[in-house]
C-alpha cells in the first residue's frame, strides 16, 4: 500500500475498517437496475443501471440538479424509487429492508448536519449508539484519531471550522465500519489542504477494500480517486474508467508545437502514415493532428516536420481530462 499520509492518520484509518462482511464474496456491493425516481411529473433520474464492485471507489458525476443526491438518498433508503430494483450490500432495496441496509452502509451528506451544541465526542457517541457499535468508547477514540481530532473531542461542533466539521462527519461515517460508504460532495467548500486530507482518507479506505460511492463536482478529485466514474444527467450518460471514457469520446491525437507556423501545413501532414486529419490550434505554430495510432504516427510526423525544415518545439499525445469528457457530455445534453 502506498498512501501519502498528509496528516499522519492513515494507519489509524486502516484500523477502523474491516473487510466487507455482509455481501457475498465476489458479488457486487451495489447493483442498480433500471432505477428511476420522480417527484410528481419532475424526473430526478430515470432508468439508471450500474454495478459497483466490492472495494471499488465509484465516482458519480453530473451537473447541479442531475439527480446525484437523490440517487444517494434512494440507495441509502431515505427515499423510495418509483421504478427499478437495486441491491445494496447484498440486500434488496425494499421498504422492509431499510433498517438492515442502513446497518451496513454509512452516508455522509453534503452538509455535515452535526449537533452544534454537542461536543465532537457527544456527536459521535450518539451515532455509535444508534449503530449499536460494540465498545463505543474505543471506536470513538479510533474514529477521532483517524481524522486527527482527538484534541478537539471536547469542543462543541458549533465552534469548529467547516473543514473540521467535515472531518467529524467523516469520523461519524466510519464509526459503524460500513460495507459501503456514500460520500456526497465530501470536499465541497473545503480549502485545498482540508480537501487533500479528505482525499488521503478516501485513498486509505480504498486501499483497505471499503466500497465508496462518491458524488462530486470536482473532476480532478474523481480522476484521482475513482476506479470508475459514471456521469449522470437525469439518465446515465456514460460509465467507465476515466481512460475508457476519454477513448470513447475523443479520437486519439497528437499535439505539435513548432517555432513558426507551417507554410502550408497540409503539405507536411497529408500523406503521413496514420494521420487522419489536422487542425491549427491558435495563430502560432500549434497543431492538433488526429491519428489512428500515436506510436506509429509520432515518429513519421517528426520526420516529416524535420524534412519540411520546421523547428519542432514539442510533439506529444493529446491528453483529455475527465473534465473534457464531462463538458463534452454536458454540452451534448444541452444541444439536444
Amino acid at each position: 500500500m502506498s498512501v501519502t499520509p498528509a496528516c499522519g492518520i492513515i494507519t489509524d484509518v486502516l484500523r477502523m475498517v474491516e473487510p466487507a462482511a455482509g455481501s457475498e464474496r465476489g458479488a457486487p456491493a451495489l447493483r442498480v437496475a433500471h432505477l428511476s425516481k420522480s417527484f410528481g411529473t419532475r424526473v430526478a433520474f430515470e432508468d439508471v443501471s450500474f454495478d459497483v464492485a466490492q472495494g471499488e471507489v465509484f465516482g458519480f458525476l453530473g451537473p447541479n440538479g442531475a439527480g446525484k443526491t437523490t440517487t444517494v438518498r434512494t440507495l441509502g433508503t431515505l427515499i423510495a424509487p418509483t421504478a427499478g430494483t437495486a441491491t445494496v450490500a447484498g440486500i434488496p432495496l425494499t421498504p422492509d429492508n431499510g433498517v438492515e441496509i442502513r446497518r451496513r452502509i454509512a452516508v455522509m451528506p453534503e452538509s455535515p448536519g452535526l449537533y452544534q451544541r454537542l461536543t465532537v465526542r457527544e456527536n459521535l457517541a450518539c451515532f455509535a449508539d444508534l449503530y449499536e457499535v460494540p465498545d463505543p468508547k474505543a471506536r470513538i477514540a479510533q474514529a477521532l484519531e483517524a481524522v486527527s481530532l482527538t484534541d478537539r473531542a471536547r469542543d462543541p461542533c458549533g465552534t469548529l471550522s467547516k473543514g473540521l466539521r467535515q472531518r467529524v462527519a467523516l469520523a461519524r461515517a466510519l464509526l459503524s465500519r460500513p460495507e459501503i460508504l456514500f460520500l456526497d460532495e465530501p470536499t465541497a467548500g473545503l480549502d485545498p489542504v482540508a480537501s487533500r486530507e479528505v482525499h488521503d482518507l478516501i485513498a486509505a479506505l480504498r486501499s483497505e477494500g471499503v466500497t465508496i460511492f462518491l458524488t462530486t463536482h470536482r473532476l480532478e478529485e474523481a480522476e484521482r480517486l475513482c476506479d470508475r466514474v459514471a456521469i449522470l444527467n437525469h439518465t446515465l450518460r456514460t460509465i467507465g474508467t476515466p481512460a475508457e471514457l476519454r477513448d470513447r469520446l475523443f479520437a486519439k491525437s497528437l499535439t505539435i508545437a513548432t517555432r513558426a507556423p507551417l507554410h502550408p501545413p497540409d503539405a507536411v501532414f497529408d500523406g503521413v502514415p496514420g494521420v487522419r486529419s489536422w487542425r491549427q490550434a491558435g495563430d502560432d505554430g500549434r497543431y492538433v493532428v488526429a491519428v489512428s495510432d500515436p506510436d506509429v504516427a509520432a515518429p513519421a510526423l517528426t520526420r516529416a516536420l524535420v524534412a519540411a525544415g520546421a523547428d519542432v518545439l514539442s510533439i506529444g499525445e493529446s491528453y483529455h481530462s475527465l473534465e473534457d469528457v464531462y463538458l463534452q457530455l454536458v454540452d451534448e445534453d444541452r444541444d439536444a
Partner: protein, 242 residues
C-alpha cells in the same frame, strides 16, 4: 409497528442527545422558565387577594395543568421541524434507527424536563401557600384529591401535548409555525383544566376517571399515529413521492 424490535439503546441515545441539546438551548430553557411563571401568577394572586370563602369552590391549582399542556408542546414542536431546519435530520435518518425509536426518544426527552418543571413549580406553589397564605385560604385551595389529580394528570396531559407537538412538527415546514400551532393545540387541555379549576365544570371522581381514560387512550394512540405520520421521504425532500 413492532414494539418487540425496538432497541432500548437507540431510544436512550436519542433521549440523552435531545436532553443535552435542550439544556444548552437558551430559547428552550427560557420557554421552560417563562411559561410556568404565567400559570403560577393567576392562582397565587387569587389566593392571596380573594377572601377564603370564594376559594372554596373548584380547585384553583388545577389551573396549573397549563404547564404540562403548553411547555412540552413548545419543546416537542422543535423536535422535527427544528432538526430539519438545522440540517441534522438527514444524518440521523441514514442510521438504522426506526421511526418509532426516534419518536419515542424525542418524546421522552420532552416529557422528562416538562414533568420536572411542572412538579417542581407545583411543589413550590404549595409550599408558598402553606407558608405565606392564611390557614383558611390554604385549607380552601389545598386538598388531598387536588394534589393526587395534579400528580396523575400532569404526565397524562404532557404526553398528549407532546405527541400532538411532534405530529405538528413532522408536518410543519418552519419551526415558528410548528411552535405556534403546538401551543394552540395545547390550549384545549388547559381550557378544560381551567374550567374545572374555576368550578364551571364541577369536578367529580367520575369526571376524573373519564378524563383520565381519554388521556390514556390519546397517549397510546399518539405514538402510533405520530409514527404513521412520520414520512422519511417527505421530511427529506418535502415531497411525499409515490
Amino acid at each position: 409497528m413492532s414494539r418487540s424490535t425496538l432497541s432500548a439503546r437507540r431510544v436512550r441515545a436519542i433521549f440523552s442527545k435531545e436532553l443535552t441539546e435542550y439544556r444548552r438551548n437558551r430559547s428552550i430553557v427560557s420557554t421552560m422558565t417563562v411559561i410556568p411563571a404565567i400559570f403560577v401568577l393567576s392562582p397565587l394572586i387569587q389566593i392571596f387577594s380573594a377572601p377564603p370563602s370564594t376559594l372554596a369552590h373548584g380547585d384553583r391549582l388545577l389551573y396549573m395543568l397549563g404547564i404540562p399542556a403548553i411547555v412540552p408542546a413548545v419543546i416537542a414542536a422543535y423536535t422535527i421541524a427544528g432538526k430539519r431546519q438545522q440540517g441534522t435530520l438527514e444524518p440521523i435518518l441514514t442510521t438504522p434507527v426506526r421511526r418509532e425509536e426516534l419518536l419515542l426518544g424525542k418524546a421522552l426527552a420532552a416529557l422528562v424536563p416538562s414533568l420536572a418543571v411542572a412538579y417542581v413549580v407545583y411543589g413550590a406553589v404549595l409550599a408558598v401557600i402553606e407558608i405565606f397564605a392564611s390557614a383558611a385560604a390554604a385549607s380552601a385551595v389545598i386538598s388531598g384529591t387536588g394534589v393526587i389529580a395534579q400528580v396523575i394528570f400532569t404526565p397524562l396531559v404532557a404526553a398528549c401535548s407532546i405527541w400532538l407537538g411532534i405530529a405538528i412538527s413532522t408536518r410543519a415546514g418552519d419551526i415558528r409555525v410548528a411552535q405556534q400551532l403546538s401551543t394552540l393545540v395545547g390550549l384545549p387541555f388547559f381550557a378544560v383544566a381551567a374550567l374545572i379549576a374555576f368550578d364551571v365544570i364541577h369536578s367529580s371522581l367520575t369526571l376524573a376517571l373519564a378524563l383520565g381514560a381519554v388521556l390514556v387512550v390519546l397517549d397510546l394512540l399518539g405514538w402510533r399515529v405520530t409514527a404513521a405520520a412520520f414520512h422519511r421521504e417527505r421530511l427529506i425532500t418535502s415531497s411525499k413521492g409515490v
